[in-house]
Symmetry: C2
């Protein structure tokens, strides 16, 4: 039985930066070769980053990606890395028309290639295209219709891309028909709570269906609203986990696999399951020299639910700031729990010295709020200043008559304007503090507390905000560090402090109740009647449903933020703004 | 040869308002029956409005639509309209699974039905699903696989939905195979400049291919960013235009058609072109009584290019304001051409008495700007007030150090905050004045001049802004009315007036040059090299391309506005915010 030393490169590609991504492939391949790897794999569209959205429709970008692929093959040779076959995802195009989708020859495809000895040994395109949730791949791509099988070191390795294994049949069944010894799947699979469990379940089932070992390599990092958690896995045909990468970290997973030898009587060009054509490739020259040393098969431990979410929020924030060319952030600190949590995330993402905060009290700000904001700054070491909005408020109130909600919103907008002024003056990117419960019901001020380029907790319900704050403090205590968030910030009742003695509970149901209804209505897509039937107070349900239905415009204007749930208020859920459907 | 009196109801459905849309179908059917019609057709998804976006994925909405369809059939009978067959679009669901798209039975479909004598005689779903530009129909729907043919008054009428005729083959070819006497197509086809020419060309070609008369009914009005221009058409198999509805107006087109009698030897259940199954329906009872009177076949004249665009901007604005539950708008009037044009559009859309404007001068505002704003108000009769932003500006400048761009943006944001304060106080919806050239290159202030719920000229390049302003004034003169836009507003050089003697030309290329490069880069999807090869100055192209590539976040945050071009900055063009691709 041949042995194959496989390396899975769990990296963070940057969308559009072909030069950087190519250099990263070279750098990680070098590490893999140093570890004796005989086959190296990178994630889906690692060369272009993922998802590239409508950049896929720009011909010059497709050509640049194809050129970069060929250059990369040459560069690997130039760097002495030509002997190891490298599987890498890129943006390509179809050689033939796809009448089923009314698309001409040359249409973009989500591709991958095997590079070896300076040549592109084989190219293929994703077969199953996801077109739900955050995915729009029928918009961008036409599907591929081949099953590539590459003989590496005497083993037949079948290749697939991400969604190919999330749907039944297709390349999984075809890999079995082709009697592959290994099914290698490259992925750009975004994070979602508990998806690691789902993913493990899936790869086990698919390995059994393919009848061979399955290796799954995923990316990490963040791209706009998506966060990638890595979690690369290798399982045997019997479902045994042979190796697993850590979550949310760049990582090279190297392991030795005992795999069945390819039989010698295979023919090429067979038509397999689901209309897939078998395309075999044989690598030129001798197989690579025998292996030096032996890697320890590693099974990284899983993070707890809170730790996993925290890591998603931190890596999404870090990636967004860095990939958009910023080094520092600016946050308005109210003394409340939302902005405190956002500041803590920012400190973990880019370090306290890059986090600038400003307290912007009005006449309605309580003493404890000002004190709690300052206390958080003291505990974390972030930069902190105070600028009162009283003079600006007086100037507006003197110029035009404002009462009630107009007066409340004004204060929030004065703060937004001040944050943007400081941002423009000093070059920080503004983070918005809104949570998912507020966004759902429209309990925020457009151009006020919604100001910012990124909202780290926009997909986090308020009840989870509290849970994460407590968890982060406990985590600090476990590590013997100072808990970042002042206890009073966590325990006091939430208030926007835009009028005397205002409490969130004046306007909204208790957050635990609100969040339960929201989770059913948003994530569960349950209608009003179904939620009432589950035992909730009809008056509360009607109120919540009405608020959610009418807040779509506000949500659309909200900055992007890291997606952690099955349905976020960004790419996942796309409702009309102009919408008279008001019955859930 | 049988005669058939056909009525095409070019109406404006409201997304989500099933009760209103049902009532409209009844009201228009009544008019059609009074005109002696024997067959009445309504647009695509007229019962739910179109597009419903992710509402399609909400099961309770699908069921409500299906129930509303059945209720509508009953209501037509109750109102004495049961004898005329009515074709109406609705949101339905599939009876069987669609393994090709990995979707279960019960998945949503873009459907239409024929209602007659209180019954749903036949139901079918759109066969070709558009999934490009503004359309995401593979996300929402599974395709239908039937060709419905209904025998009406002795004529075999084949039915199709919108995209079914924009792609080759499918129901067009199948209608010929089924020997249909009329191909009736219901549409939700959004406006785009010159699309009426394209549409006429298309229906002529498809009529020839189907070998029969083709009747095309489209909707009017606006839904979020989409504007529907109507332009319903009937053409003979020889391409002759038999009737055509006016653009942008609700309209009932009634005409008598001489059509071939259906042959009696047809069988049901045939498998036609593109896998379509023939499903024939026979209406119960006697055909309708002989016709009273005779309608005059009407061919409405086409609008000029400017008049057509103007109508699109006006109807988009009118629909957005009304359908979101507002009666009045608020606009910041600078004295410049953009806000002047937006105010003129608003006056035409909802009447001067519902248009409120505010001049918000700073220390850098010129006397002519203040005068020009007041002059526009005088000419149009809109409500006008002046509020200086000087005290607010001084309050900010006293609180924190701001220079350069931060100081410029501050002024714009103070105006945005003032507009929102008045909006909240008085209940007007704010219109944003940004044009497409500015949005393209990011020449605007986030939370400043971008404030608003709708941007009437966000898809209008600056050079077209000038053209439309001149056209609107000339049009007023032709009608013997006062031209709304002061001459000085049109002739003076554009300036943001955020610092002394500032001119747009300090920061941007001449607008005609800028717009030429932008049209190639945005609408044409040409890369940097291709634009340079077409003869443009490489330095200008590089600058423009760089500006466009880095302004995506600002554009995403901009309010929606009426789409008039082949690619707008809304649903049409979906680029990543985090994007390091910087070579065009």
């Amino acid at each position: 039985m041949p042995k194959l030393r496989l390396a899975l490169s769990q990296i963070d590609p940057w969308v559009g930066d072909l030069a950087r991504n190519s250099a990263e492939v070279v750098r990680w391949t070098k590490q893999a070769v140093e570890a004796g790897a005989q086959l190296v794999a990178f994630p889906e569209m690692a060369l272009t980053g993922y998802p590239v959205e409508d950049l896929a429709l720009r011909g010059s970008f497709v050509e640049a990606s194809r050129d970069a692929l060929v250059e990369l093959a040459g560069r690997l040779v130039a760097d002495g890395l030509g002997e190891v076959p490298v599987v890498v995802g890129y943006l390509g195009r179809s050689e033939h028309a796809s009448p089923r989708f009314n698309r001409p020859a040359g249409s973009p495809q989500n591709c991958a290639a095997v590079l070896h000895r300076g040549a592109v040994v084989t190219r293929f395109a994703k077969h199953h295209l996801p077109n739900y949730g955050v995915f729009d791949e029928f918009r961008w791509f036409v599907p591929g219709d081949q099953l590539p099988v590459v003989r590496v070191h005497g083993v037949d390795v079948a290749l697939a891309i991400c969604e190919d294994i999330w749907q039944d049949g297709g390349r999984v069944t075809a890999a079995r028909e082709a009697e592959a010894g290994l099914l290698l799947v490259i992925n750009g699979s975004p994070y979602e709570r508990n998806k690691d469990d789902q993913r493990l379940e899936l790869v086990r089932r698919r390995a059994a269906e393919a009848g061979c070992t399955l290796a799954y390599v995923n990316m990490v990092g963040g791209q706009d609203e998506l966060v990638f958690d890595g979690d690369s896995i290798v399982v045997g045909a019997d479902g045994e986990v042979l190796a697993r990468s850590p979550q949310f970290e760049e990582h090279l997973l190297v392991l030795d696999l005992d795999l069945p030898a390819a039989s010698s009587d295979h023919t090429d060009g067979l038509l397999l399951s689901d209309g897939l054509h078998l395309v075999r490739s044989e690598l030129p020259g001798e197989p690579q020299p025998a292996l030096a040393g032996k890697p320890v098969a590693e099974i990284a431990p899983r993070l707890s639910d809170e730790a996993e979410i925290w890591a998603a929020l931190v890596s999404g924030t870090r990636a967004y700031v860095a990939k958009n060319g910023f080094r520092s952030v600016l946050i308005g600190l109210s003394g409340g729990i939302d902005s405190a949590l956002v500041a803590s995330i920012a400190v973990d993402a880019i370090g306290a010295d890059n986090v600038h905060c400003v307290s912007m009290p009005s006449r309605y700000s309580s003493e404890h709020s000002k004190g709690d904001a300052a206390e958080l700054a003291r505990r974390t070491g972030l930069h902190f200043r105070t600028v009162s909005i009283a003079p600006m408020f007086d100037a507006y109130m003197g110029a035009t008559e404002l009462t009630g909600l107009a007066e409340e919103n004004l204060q929030s907008r004065l703060r937004g304007t001040l944050l943007m002024a400081i941002s423009n003056q000093e070059g920080h990117i503004v983070l918005a503090p809104g949570n998912k419960s507020e966004l759902a019901v429209g309990y925020s001020t457009l151009y006020g507390d919604s100001v910012g380029a990124y909202g780290p907790i926009k997909d986090v319900y308020k009840s989870l905000v509290f849970r994460l704050a407590r968890w982060r403090n406990e985590e600090a205590e476990r590590r013997g560090e100072v808990p970042p968030i002042p206890e009073n910030t966590i325990t006091k009742p939430p208030s926007a402090e835009l009028r005397p003695d205002q409490m969130d509970s004046d306007s909204l149901p208790d957050y635990d109740l609100l969040d339960s209804v929201l989770a059913r209505y948003i994530e569960g897509d349950e209608g009003r009647d179904a939620i009432v039937a589950a035992g909730f107070d009809p008056a509360v349900v009607d109120r919540v449903v009405r608020l959610v239905d009418t807040a779509e415009y506000k949500r659309r204007q909200y900055p992007p933020g890291p997606k952690i749930s099955v349905k976020n208020f960004g790419r996942d859920r796309r409702l009309p703004i102009t919408n008279r459907w008001r019955r859930g």
